[in-house]
């Protein structure tokens, strides 16, 4: 136990100069922040899901006085979401190897999928068979899909920016790690998208 006022000599050191400066996966700090961010978003979706079921208990018919949303575009989008997992997985797998070409191609494919999903989403809005200002059910459906579309567009822009970077020499270690994290986030968008599909196409038909 040293006295507080004596100058402290420090002959011992812990040399960290040899430590790496890029980390992938859960070791990356941005990965952790992304997890927190997804937790926030997941919480918001969960609360709106809860609101959906809460409002469900306040009506005898569901959907109240509407046809359920038409399945076509929702089903197509679900397929697009499922297929898009492949390039996301590819980016995530190849990025730690430093395979810039594979990452670039993966990002290209992923952004095409994201664009397709966004385009289909626009069509999906036209076949919901309700308007947000009709009643509480319609409001919830629009907010769920609207919020998810916001995520979709954000993710599309992020992927496009990464794609642009991947054509420049700046696509080095940290950016590759970012591309892998971007894939994690895409998974999140896919999972929430499928859950919302189940909610608005599924529960309106089977519950």
């Amino acid at each position: 136990m040293g006295s507080l006022n004596e100058p402290i000599r420090r002959p011992l050191t812990l040399d960290v100069s040899g430590l790496p400066s890029v980390a992938f996966g859960h070791r990356n700090t941005t990965w952790l922040a992304n997890v927190f961010y997804m937790a926030i978003e997941a919480m918001m979706f969960a609360l709106i899901f809860a609101a959906y079921f809460y409002l469900r208990t306040r009506s005898t018919n569901w959907p109240p006085g509407h046809l359920p949303p038409s399945l076509t575009y929702g089903a197509v989008n679900a397929v697009v979401f499922l297929l898009s997992i492949v390039p996301a997985w590819w980016v995530r797998k190849r990025a730690p190897d430093g395979d810039r070409r594979a990452v670039r191609n993966g990002l290209l494919a992923l952004s095409l999928f994201a664009m397709a999903a966004t385009g289909i989403r626009v069509l999906e809005f036209t076949t919901l068979n309700c308007r947000w200002s009709d009643d509480a059910y319609s409001s919830t459906v629009w907010v769920l899909i609207g919020m998810h579309s916001g995520h979709l567009v954000t993710e599309l822009i992020e992927t496009l920016v990464l794609l642009v970077i991947s054509f420049t020499p700046k696509m080095e270690g940290t950016r590759l790690a970012d591309a892998a994290i971007n894939s994690d986030y895409w998974y999140f968008v896919v999972v929430t998208g499928l859950m919302i599909d189940f909610l608005i196409y599924g529960t309106t038909r089977f519950l």
């Binding site: 136990m1 006295s3 507080l4 306040r58």
Partner: protein, 339 residues
């Protein structure tokens, strides 16, 4: 033109005749509901007071024992032994805490059951609807002409269970008469029910307890508990149509009522006035107070209220009525005849 009537301001009225708004105190119960809660309050209070005293004594003793006066940082104590000795203290303190909390939980749940559980039959049923900023009170009856509608004053028979059905016409209000029972929110889209039973005759004041807009402060009510006979008598009177005016001034007053803004909002059963935007005035003279227990029901206050309600309750939906003085006089006479 209404200048000469402006002297009837609220403050003058209030000073001229102090009114007793009735009992309004959590710890002065007049009903078994409030009584049970008061009992629980005091039991929990004394338990917690003991906890408070013990904790403070602990900190005081510790301070007295350990205090060292020095303005320089003292050396650090190594005290593994002390930590070890204190473990049992922490353990027993926590055990006592848990036991205390459990006792409070049981007392609370048991009291809650006693307050809420309805045991008696043949209750009087009252429907209370909250409006911005007054209470519509209805005594429903299967025969429409036996239904009583009044405002802000709830007459109940003594020692008889009263079931209150609640509803709201606009925003959330909360029914609360502290000497009788705890509060119940009036939530739009929900109808709920609670009950009470008054044990002591008297007038009990209540007030809206959920913030409901501009005049939340002036949304009072009173519960008037009276013997079964008196209650019956009151009921019989309320069922009747409005009294026909007998004097010429009162007849003129009815004319004023029916040709001015009054009939746009109010009902007087037995006349053409039948709107439900404001309180039912069929027996307005039988009430002690007006404007949701804001003013005493006197000629002066009534006139002041009719002329300029926005002065007394700024924001109320009732419009100012700049009537000619003799019209106003006649109207007040008519309204005061509506026993």
């Amino acid at each position: 033109m209404n200048a000469e009537l402006n002297f009837v301001s609220f403050r003058l009225v209030a000073q001229a005749m102090p009114v007793d708004p009735g009992h309004h105190h959590v710890l002065q119960p007049a009903a078994p509901q409030a009584g049970n809660i008061e009992w629980l309050y005091w039991v929990v209070f004394w338990i917690l007071f003991a906890v408070f005293a013990l904790m403070l004594a602990g900190f005081a003793t510790a301070t007295a024992k350990a205090r060292v006066i020095s303005s320089r940082p003292l050396p650090i104590i190594e005290d593994e032994e002390g930590d070890h000795r204190a473990r049992w203290a922490l353990g027993s303190a926590l055990s006592i805490t848990v036991i205390t909390l459990f006792v409070i939980l049981v007392l609370s749940v048991v009291t809650g059951k006693r307050v809420e559980g309805l045991s008696s039959k043949n209750p009087v049923t009252i429907q209370i609807t909250g409006h911005q900023w007054w209470w519509e009170v209805t005594y429903p009856n299967s025969q429409a002409d036996q239904t009583i509608t009044t405002a802000n004053e709830i007459h109940v028979p003594l020692n008889t269970p009263v079931v209150v059905l609640t509803n709201s016409a606009d925003v959330i209000h909360s029914f609360w008469a502290p000497s009788i029972t705890g509060k119940r929110d009036l939530v739009p889209g929900y109808s709920s029910a609670f009950w009470f039973q008054v044990a002591k005759a008297g007038i009990y004041h209540g007030q809206c307890a959920e913030f409901c807009g501009l005049q939340h402060a002036h949304m009072g009510l009173s519960v008037i508990a009276e013997t079964a006979d008196k209650f019956q008598e009151w009921q019989q009177r309320q069922i009747k149509l409005a009294a026909e005016p007998s004097t010429s001034e009162a007849i003129r007053g009815r004319g004023v009522f029916l040709t001015h803004a009054c009939l746009m909002c109010h009902t007087i059963r037995g006349t053409d006035a039948g709107s439900h935007l404001g309180p039912d005035l069929t027996h307005v003279a039988s009430r002690k107070m007006i404007a949701a227990e804001t003013l005493p029901n006197t000629a002066g206050a009534l006139a002041g209220w009719i002329v300029d309600p926005q002065r007394i309750k700024p924001g109320t939906l009732m419009s100012p009525n700049p009537l000619a003085p003799d019209d106003l006089q006649a109207l007040v006479v008519y309204l005061q005849s509506l026993q």
